[in-house]
Symmetry: C2
Amino acid sequence: MNIGQAASASGVSARMIRHYEAAGLIPKAARAYSGYRRYDERDIHTLRFIRRARIAGFSTAQIKKLLLLWQDRQRPAREVKQLAAAHLSDLQTRIAELESIAHALTQLIAHCHGDERPQCPILDNLAGNGTAHE
Amino acid sequence: MNIGQAASASGVSARMIRHYEAAGLIPKAARAYSGYRRYDERDIHTLRFIRRARIAGFSTAQIKKLLLLWQDRQRPAREVKQLAAAHLSDLQTRIAELESIAHALTQLIAHCHGDERPQCPILDNLAGNGTAHE
DNA sequence: ACTAAACCTTGCCATCATTGGAAGGTCAAG
DNA sequence: CTTGACCTTCCAATGATGGCAAGGTTTAGT
């Protein structure tokens, strides 16, 4: 299987397959005589794993660890759970930050009449001219 | 005022002040005979505006527009409101995505016993199903 | 067999905001 | 006049991905 087939079979672009190889996430692919990279079902399986982990928001560094754990049949579930919990905690922090911003912005927008007049509490707030809403 | 003073007065690092200048967010600073950049209160005010807008999650492109609007005393509040609303919409989309991921991860973590045994629904899920690789 | 299309290779650039370092010039105080 | 804090510019890296270019390979159609 060439990289193109591996890409469509795994859902990971050929681009990113090469990238993951260079980044050490996956071992260097075997090469055909022509120099083309060769992939088998095992590789596709690994790529699908990576794709799902990316969708779940894991960083490449985290995925590297997850792959090691995945390939270790003796791994304790504890380690995986810890890694996932740390990631979940990150996610929740980010969510809270974004929600806080969204909340403030919602308030500002609600107080902006949004017509042709130049008065605008949104700009006033960014300018530091205080309290757009009480 | 040199760039260092401007940085501590505005809360924007000297590094980023130069960056914003190169990016066209702020006009090129006046220079002293020595080549040092000079800043006045007006510049500090602008830098504080930028800092607040960044904290609010606006992109530099959006901030560029906000600055133009801010400096235009005739601007209609409508335009500012539209820009802010578009940004809020982006924020809400991102929040929803992260929440969806966090929810799925929470489920997986809850079903992982997390002890010394190798069985782990988190890895199983990333691998594509109940049966892991091989 | 020849040719064109589709595929592969490597490598460099761009994004976005920010930080880091290196190499060198300038200013203020001792 | 030296030292150290400050400034200058340029170059690089982050993280994940996309784009393009120039060139080699394979495959399918004639």
